[in-house]
């Protein structure tokens, strides 16, 4: 089953690559950590927990300019494609029980919980995704070029949202601690300085509680 999980992850990446959709997406969450490890981006880093959620951030809902229909593509490829009963967001399930979802950065008043995209999927809009969207890096693994958040953005975003994560906050803290020794502190500092006032205060609150990131100041 563990083997299947990785096999299916790469099958999904392959499908997205063939549809020329991969460049429009950023892999976030624990699978980004897997890609940090596999690509050698963070030399010596070993990722730990890997859930079955694969979350993709859509860089721009209006791209590609010629729309594609990933919902149909996944359906025809034999995946279970469904729409969330409450929010309407697209969710793709695999036989190894991976669950693929798409996210968009929420902007302005951001009243819409979901939005249609030119990739042919309905994405959930979330706050504080912009830091991941605006700070990504392409990594090469196998024969693919996959976008992942810069590790510094990855941990800063986790700090910002930590107090909203409820039961998942400890898991996120562990992820932060695991990546922390491998990040570029100057890049992290520069990112921190570019955060909004509200985001900065959330990072400060996290650090006051955990006391690990003095270098951001």
């Amino acid at each position: 089953m563990i083997e299947n999980k990785y096999k299916e992850f790469w099958e999904i990446i392959d499908l997205l690559d063939k549809e020329n959709a991969l460049n429009h997406l950023i892999v976030i969450g624990s699978w980004a950590e897997y890609l940090y490890e596999q690509s050698g981006l963070l030399s010596g880093f070993r990722s730990e927990l890997r859930t079955r959620d694969i979350d993709f951030v859509i860089r721009n809902k209006r791209k590609p300019s010629s729309p594609i229909n990933l919902t149909n593509v996944f359906d025809e490829a034999g995946y279970i494609v469904e729409q969330d009963r409450i929010t309407g967001k697209t969710r793709i399930l695999t036989l190894a029980r991976l669950e693929v979802e798409f996210l968009l950065a929420k902007v302005g008043a951001g009243l819409e919980r979901t939005m249609e995209t030119n990739l042919g999927v309905i994405a959930e809009t979330l706050r504080n995704i912009d830091i991941l969207r605006d700070n990504f890096i392409p990594v090469s693994v196998k024969d693919y070029v996959v976008n992942v958040p810069k590790p510094e953005a990855y941990i800063i975003q986790k700090m910002i949202i930590n107090d909203e994560r409820g039961d998942k906050s400890l898991k996120d803290q562990r992820a932060i601690n695991n990546i922390l020794p491998y990040i570029n502190k100057n890049i992290a500092k520069s990112m921190y300085q570019n955060l909004s006032k509200k985001q900065k205060s959330k990072v400060d609150k996290y650090n006051a509680e955990v006391e690990i990131l003095d270098f951001l100041k």
Partner: protein, 100 residues
């Protein structure tokens, strides 16, 4: 203590995800044909029959050559999903034991 809590959280997430998968997969299974395709040779000609069980009886229906592939694909899909559901249920039983 924190390690136990993280592990418990991950297991709970997997449990919920499995339940969601089971629900969605069972919904799809309910729309797929049960049974199997059998092949018979009569006077050097091959005929295909769709067969399924209804109570104690085996029902049989002739299928045209052009429909064999589509039906076969649906039956295979049903079997794949049923196998995946079985695995998800087994995993949830293991998770329940681990969480006790």
């Amino acid at each position: 203590m924190a390690e136990t809590s993280i592990l418990k959280q991950v297991l709970l997430e997997e449990f919920e995800r499995n339940n969601h998968f089971i629900e969605s997969a069972e919904k799809e299974v309910s729309q797929l044909p049960i049974g199997y395709i059998s092949k018979k040779s009569i006077n050097n000609k091959t005929y295909f029959y769709y067969q399924w069980r209804e109570g104690d009886k085996i029902r049989s229906k002739y299928i045209k050559m052009k429909d064999v592939q589509i039906l076969n694909k649906k039956i295979r899909r049903r079997k794949e999903l049923e196998e995946a559901i079985r695995k998800a249920k087994n995993e949830n039983r293991r998770i329940e034991r681990a969480l006790k």
